[in-house]
Symmetry: C2
Subunit: 339 residues, 2 copies
Amino acid sequence: MRAIQRLNKGAGEPKGAVDRLFRLVEADLQHVNALILERMRSDVPLIPELAGHIINSGGKRLRPMLTLAAAQICGYQGLGHIRLATAVEFIHTATLLHDDVVDESDLRRGKAAAHVIWGNAPSVLVGDFLFSRSFQLMVETGSLRVLNILSNASAIIAEGEVMQLSAKGNIGTVEDTYLKIIAAKTAALFAAAAEAGAVIAQADELREMAMKSYGNNLGIAFQLVDDALDYSGREAMMGKAVGDDFREGKLTLPVILALARANAEEAEFWRRTMVQHTQTDADLTHAIHLIEKHQALGDTLARARGYADQACAALNVFPDSPMRRALNELAEFCVSRAY
Amino acid sequence: MRAIQRLNKGAGEPKGAVDRLFRLVEADLQHVNALILERMRSDVPLIPELAGHIINSGGKRLRPMLTLAAAQICGYQGLGHIRLATAVEFIHTATLLHDDVVDESDLRRGKAAAHVIWGNAPSVLVGDFLFSRSFQLMVETGSLRVLNILSNASAIIAEGEVMQLSAKGNIGTVEDTYLKIIAAKTAALFAAAAEAGAVIAQADELREMAMKSYGNNLGIAFQLVDDALDYSGREAMMGKAVGDDFREGKLTLPVILALARANAEEAEFWRRTMVQHTQTDADLTHAIHLIEKHQALGDTLARARGYADQACAALNVFPDSPMRRALNELAEFCVSRAY
């Protein structure tokens, strides 16, 4: 609850946008949090120590909430969704630990990243541990279909991360490639988290596909907004370091759009900062200026809104219910947090 | 075949020690190699490029051979063991990629390690990709028990690696802790590889446990010999860098034994080189001298022989057969390669 309140406050969006979803899954989420604590235990003290650092660092538990919500909207009565949601959070946490090593980011959710405190080696290995734990939890659900969905998603996430790495500093990255990257590295887990919740509830194919589509579109909207926030002052309030993507030479949509609309001098600026990777302190400010000048932030957010709308549309196969309304609000929140 | 010939040649053990096992599983192993190539494919070119570098670098395919052999000795007639053996090799390869990042080793199987060529980031991510692929393959076997065995093993491997990391430079590491570490980081996958082969063959519990015990004991013997070779001139022939463990401050059994038998001056030498971690070029030679002086290498290998004997004893639940003899020879080879 605290994490969500903090986020709500930080993003300054209309109060209650995620609270409704949170309240609907709150009881289940408490079980998930208890299971997270139980399963990150190990006789090797460094494991719960490092895992606890990232797991308790105020994450929103958005992905496990999706699993719980999907199971609930599909009328699930069992307990398997608790394990499943925990598995989803463990996969997410494992990728965060590995990402921070890969990106050499010093901050994660406003705290020092694990690899800064303990070094790269334990971050890689504890990530592997959590990843293994997630598969143990899935095995316990007894559902091969769930294992299928989440092992596929894991492979796609890794592919997306490598794709992003290969595209780094590549000024020729186009919107299409960028969308492929974020669909793989972010939306695949959102989609799998939601789909798996429907699968464990033995929903019919139509509802399964609806939840998968909701998760996928929500994930793309979420990442678009995240990438927009990296060039916006607001993100400083959200516990992220400002300008990370810029400094790392990650070609995200705000830059891709600004570059497509750049004059010769501006194109040279992007080439120097993103390809040659020689940056001065003033460059981030200038980058933000160019992105604003060319409406690149507004257009990125407009695209995010489009995906959020598609997410909501996917839910139309379900009759109106408090949960459907809550999921619609979540999609709305994902975009509105940028304003 | 080339990999095994190279190993046989390198280690200089009696010719044919592994050839018999190899011939018995050769047809299956060709299918495994084909499936490895097929499943490491990806639209992201860096993935097969980096994965191919390590997968084609002359590994012995020992672990997948164990799976194939276990399935065969338990009378398996299906095709699931091919997928299973491929999954086992992918888990192994993923841990190698991550280990090299963790250990900062520059050499792997006599070639430049992947992270030296491509950097840490892709090594971590391609490891994650192969790990995910291995679970996809297991899902395809349709066996939840196999998934259970190998997800448990993966968690234990990660725990073992973190344990090893925590023990680094800790001069108080005792033989018991060391055995726990190698049981987790190495023997767990040998045991799981063999057990899973029996499980897919629907062997009775007695045979399942026999194969698990064979794999576990073989794995411990294998790692003991590996750690002995790190202080022996022979290893230079095996494509490993000499003295890696010493330089990294890894307290392996040869050092633990030499330290337990050290006089005050020798203890100070180990403290300086392994804890303070200040080493000169001459120190490795002196370390080898102390290890030889105290019979620590001979005693390490004697323990390895004990585990190899236990591995062979476990096979007694099976009637005599060419495969049982081949597995006995493999255990013998694991120890004899040190001489």
